[in-house]
Structures are given as structure tokens and as C-alpha cells.
């Protein structure tokens, strides 16, 4: 049942031009950034062997690219791809179809969530194709790449959950876009606004969505970072289920 809803959600994205436009524009931007990373690598390549522990293609090209994918997902793709999930159904009065079918609220939310997460994974896979193309002439540190990829998937999972939750709050997709963008952008700049010190600084750093992502890109796996994304994801999904349940009970 979750799969049925997820599949429809995934397909519906591709039945509108939005998904294709997102994929095309993202790929174009990422390709440009990828070439810039490669260029930088070629510029410094000759001097690398002189360093004691020289960074390779993975550190100088693949990791920054995954970082770029994360930022694009956070700033544009997640708000846009999740805006319609529930808001649109509410606007078009299609929710009664789901609410009167023998499906639990949890399954509805999970289905929608996995549908949009699938779309994020398509974006990730297309982006990943670029560093993998470097295998033709160079070699990559697969352990580090896998770690970065895990971080990206965890980030995407959290972004999709935030977007889905915000979409349950309104019937206007435009409001959902702005809401998700606002929340995610604030979570992002928390990492930059680390001017304070002591406890406040640590709390802010703990909440920042990007501070937890960067260690993955450097190949550092830490349980705390995994837990951060899982907690954020589960909280938002739970809130989404609660919101829809409360709709039935009514205010």
C-alpha cells in the first residue's frame, strides 16, 4: 500500500514538467561546478605529489560536488519537489479519496515521503554519474565516496521529511515552498552564524543542518551525525501524520 502511493507520487512528479525542469537545471548547474572542480584539480595536480598526504580526485572533485548537490537540494529542489505532496491534494479536494480508503495515515505519509525521496535519489544518481566518469582516467577512494553518499542520502531524507511536513500545513503549494525554504535556509545558516561561544554556540552548531553533512564529505562517519538526520526525519514524519490525523478530528 505504501508502495502504491509512493509510486503514484513519483510518477506524478514526472507527469508534470516540473520534475524534468528540476533535473535538467540541476544537472546543468552541477556539470558546470563539476568542470570547475576538475579544472582546479588539474591546476594543482602537478604540485600534489610534493605534499606529505596528497588529496586525490575524491577529495578535490567528488566531495565538493556532493556538497553542491546537498546545497541545491536544500535551497531549491526540496522545497519545490515537496510543495505539492499534501497541499495540492488538499487544494484539489482529493484527500477524501485517501481518507476513505482502507489505509492508515502512517502509510499515506510514508508513501508520499518515499515517492519524493525516490526523486531525490534520481537526482543523486545523476549527479554521481559525473565523478564516476572520472574512473576512465583516474581512480577514486570508494570508501570516502560511499561515506559522502551516505551523508547526502541522509540529508535528502531529512529535507524530504521537512518539506512533506510543511506541505501538510497548508493548501497552497506556494506557501509550502516558501515555508520549507525558510525552515531549511535557517537551518543552513545556523552553521554560519556561529559567532557566539560556550553553550549557545554548541546548541546552534548541533542544530545546523550543514555542520552534520560536512564530516561525511571528508570521509568521517559519526553516529551523532547519523542520529541527527534520523531524528529530524522521524520527527517531521511524525508531525505530518499527527497533522493529518488532527484534520480528521478537526479544530
Amino acid at each position: 500500500m505504501i508502495r502504491t502511493i509512493a509510486w503514484r507520487e513519483f510518477r506524478s512528479l514526472f507527469l508534470s514538467p516540473l520534475a524534468f525542469v528540476i533535473l535538467a537545471v540541476t544537472q546543468l548547474i552541477l556539470a558546470r561546478l563539476f568542470l570547475a572542480h576538475v579544472n582546479l584539480f588539474l591546476m594543482v595536480e602537478s604540485r600534489l605529489p610534493t605534499l606529505p598526504n596528497p588529496p586525490g580526485l575524491t577529495t578535490l572533485v567528488a566531495a565538493p560536488l556532493l556538497g553542491n548537490v546537498g546545497v541545491l537540494l536544500l535551497l531549491i529542489i526540496a522545497p519545490l519537489a515537496t510543495m505539492r505532496l499534501v497541499a495540492d491534494e488538499r487544494h484539489n479536494k482529493t484527500l477524501p479519496l485517501l481518507f476513505s480508503a482502507p489505509i492508515s495515515m502512517r502509510d499515506i505519509v510514508l508513501g508520499k515521503y518515499l515517492g519524493v525521496l525516490g526523486f531525490f535519489l534520481v537526482i543523486t544518481a545523476l549527479a554521481l554519474a559525473m565523478p564516476l566518469a572520472l574512473l576512465i582516467g583516474g581512480h577514486l577512494d570508494f570508501g570516502m565516496l560511499a561515506c559522502g553518499l551516505l551523508g547526502l542520502v541522509l540529508l535528502a531524507a531529512a529535507l524530504a521529511a521537512v518539506g512533506l511536513f510543511v506541505s501538510t500545513l497548508t493548501q497552497y503549494p506556494a506557501v509550502a515552498v516558501m515555508g520549507t525554504f525558510g525552515i531549511l535556509f535557517l537551518l543552513w545558516i545556523l552553521g554560519y552564524a556561529n559567532s557566539g561561544h560556550g553553550l549557545g554556540r554548541r546548541i546552534v552548531a548541533t542544530l545546523s543542518i550543514v555542520d552534520h553533512y560536512e564530516p561525511f564529505l571528508r570521509g568521517l562517519f559519526s553516529t551523532a551525525n547519523v542520529v541527527y538526520y534520523l531524528v529530524l526525519t522521524l520527527t517531521c514524519l511524525l508531525f505530518a501524520v499527527r497533522k493529518l490525523e488532527s484534520e480528521r478530528v478537526g479544530a
Binding site: 507527469l15 484539489n92 479536494k93 482529493t94 477524501p96 476513505s100 489505509i103 492508515s104 478530528v249 478537526g250
Partner: protein
């Protein structure tokens, strides 16, 4: 719970199973009760018409029956399963057409119906057969490959109807099923509802009286959130057949003398020398009454026949000056 039944007595003792049971349904929005203390049952093979002016609480009741809205108090049982404690089982037994058909604009009719079938856990091998059957019943065979967004309002309504009966649920809940249809389509849909009523329990809401007469076995009138009438269509029509005369005199007459007149069923005094005469539809006592008034010198000054059509009945029951037929 046989005590809750307010249907006919003709097949007492050997009745079909109760498929829908609403017990004391109440729904309060803020402080305003939209529906208060509504109770009824629907059995297999019955079409129940839910009649009321706009804003009477029809849609709210339908939403509670279909599990889209939790009642403030009271409960709903569909096929014996409580909507609150066993929602999946209760919902598995129902098909619901909301006020606005819940269509996904980006899907074709076939894709949409297949998705609905999947949501209702119709096994994959049965989906095509059931989809084609529902399409044929709703007159959609020609439009399977078209996007629902591009269909006319009437066709969209029919797709919504097809969605509600697709998985052949025992209980079908239709909120204003003929809205937006042209007269020919309305006739087809009414025939379809009668058809469904043979094996299923159907509940439909409408503010159109002839609709109830055309397709229902039983009617319930809801007004300001309360059920004010619940009877069979036959009773309702019989009620509307028996003619009523309003008569007024200058001097108080002897009501017993009037009651003796041929065809008069009953006489009630309305005060102020006014009487209300119920008489057989085919025996108008007006002439005899006038003659009697002359000889007894009652001073008959007014005779007004009350045509008790369903509209009048409705106005009378709801106490509104302008019902909205």
C-alpha cells in the same frame, strides 16, 4: 441493534443485514453544532436518501460516515466495524463519492481507476475487469484514455462515481451524485443507483426532492443538523397524496358533524373558527361542506385546498419560507 431501526415493518423477522449504523452522531464546529444526535441504520438492498436544504448538515454526516471526519460524539459502524476503533475494516467496506469528485488531474481515467483499485486493495488480476465494469456502468467506456482534467464536469462526476463503486463495496456513500449532470445523465445515474441498491446499501444526499422519489427506498430529512423525518418513500408519497382543506367559519361549527361527511378522514381545530380537514384524495368534501354550512348557518367564509406536494411537506417540516428544491 434492532431497536435502532426505523425502517418498514413489512419484512420484520427476516431482514437483510445492517450495513451502516450511525448512533448519536454529533459534530460540533467550534460551538456550532453542524450535526446533532443523528441515528439511523441502512440494510443491504436499501437506498437511503438524505434530504435537506443546503447547509443542513448533509455533507458533514457523509464525511463522518466515510471516515473523513471524526464525530464529536456518537459512532459509525460500517459492515459491523467501528470507524474509530477498526478504521481499515470499516473503510474496506465502503465506497465514497465526496461533494467534489477527488480526481487526480494528471492521470487518465484508466490510470486513475487503477490507482483507486490499488488503494482499495483490489488484487491485481481483478483490476482490469472491475475497472471496465465500473466504466461500463457509469458510461465511461469511451474516455478511458483521456486525462480526467480534460473531461467535462458531467464526465468528471461519473469518474468519481465509478471510483466509488469500483471495488464493489457493500456500502456506497454518494454526496450529491447528480450535481453537474445533464437531464439524460441524471436519469442514467438514478438507474445506476437503483441498480446498486439491489445488492448494496446506498446512501445518497441531495437537496433535490424528485431525486429522492426517483431513486430511494427510504428518505431522511435533515434540517439544522437534526433528523426531522425518516420514512419510506411509499409513506411519504401517501402522505403527500392525502389532500388537506383549510376552512374558516364565522361561527364555530360542530366538528363531529363535519367529520361525518363522506370522504373526511379527520378534522383538527386550528382555533379562531378554523379547521383542517384531511380527506381521501378521490373524494372532495367541499361541496357537501358548503351545503352543510348553509343549513347550519356556520357562515363558511374560506375554503383553501392545501396541495401537499413533497415541496410543501418539506417546507412544512423544516419550517422555512423558501426551501431550496
Amino acid at each position: 441493534m434492532p431497536g435502532m431501526d426505523n425502517g418498514t415493518e413489512r419484512d420484520a423477522g427476516h431482514r437483510p443485514e445492517v450495513l451502516v449504523e450511525a448512533v448519536g452522531l454529533t459534530r460540533v464546529y467550534g460551538r456550532v453544532p453542524a450535526v446533532s444526535d443523528v441515528s439511523f441504520v441502512i440494510r443491504r438492498g436499501e437506498v437511503l436518501g438524505f434530504l435537506g436544504p443546503n447547509g443542513a448538515g448533509k455533507t458533514t454526516t457523509m464525511q463522518m460516515l466515510s471516515g473523513n471526519l471524526a464525530p464529536t460524539s456518537g459512532r459509525v459502524l460500517i459492515g459491523g466495524h467501528d470507524m474509530m476503533s477498526e478504521p481499515k475494516r470499516a473503510k474496506a467496506a465502503l465506497g465514497y463519492l465526496p461533494e467534489i469528485p477527488p480526481l487526480y488531474r494528471e492521470l487518465t481515467v484508466d490510470e486513475y481507476l487503477d490507482y483507486c483499485a490499488a488503494l482499495h486493495r483490489v488484487p491485481r488480476p481483478d483490476r482490469t475487469r472491475l475497472r471496465e465494469r465500473a466504466k461500463a456502468r457509469c458510461g465511461l467506456s469511451e474516455v478511458g484514455k483521456r486525462l480526467t482534467a480534460n473531461l467535462s464536469k458531467g464526465y468528471q462526476q461519473r469518474v468519481g462515481l465509478a471510483q466509488a463503486i469500483l471495488h464493489e463495496p457493500p456500502v456506497v456513500i454518494l454526496d450529491e451524485p447528480t450535481i453537474g449532470l445533464d437531464p439524460i445523465q441524471i436519469r442514467e445515474v438514478r438507474r445506476l443507483i437503483r441498480d446498486l441498491g439491489r445488492e448494496h446499501a446506498v446512501i445518497l444526499s441531495t437537496h433535490i426532492l424528485p431525486e429522492v422519489q426517483a431513486s430511494c427506498d427510504r428518505v431522511q430529512i435533515i434540517h439544522k443538523g437534526r433528523l426531522i423525518l425518516s420514512e419510506t418513500i411509499g409513506d411519504l408519497e401517501r402522505r403527500s397524496q392525502s389532500r388537506v382543506l383549510m376552512v374558516a367559519f364565522h361561527r364555530a361549527p360542530d366538528t363531529a358533524r363535519i367529520a361525518e361527511l363522506a370522504g373526511v378522514q379527520s378534522v383538527t381545530s386550528m382555533g379562531d373558527h378554523r379547521l383542517r380537514l384531511f380527506h381521501d384524495p378521490d373524494q372532495d368534501p367541499t361541496e357537501a361542506l358548503m351545503r352543510l354550512s348553509m343549513t347550519e348557518d356556520w357562515g363558511l367564509r374560506e375554503v383553501t385546498p392545501e396541495t401537499s406536494s413533497l415541496e410543501n411537506l418539506f417546507v412544512e417540516l423544516t419550517g422555512e419560507q423558501s426551501a431550496n428544491p
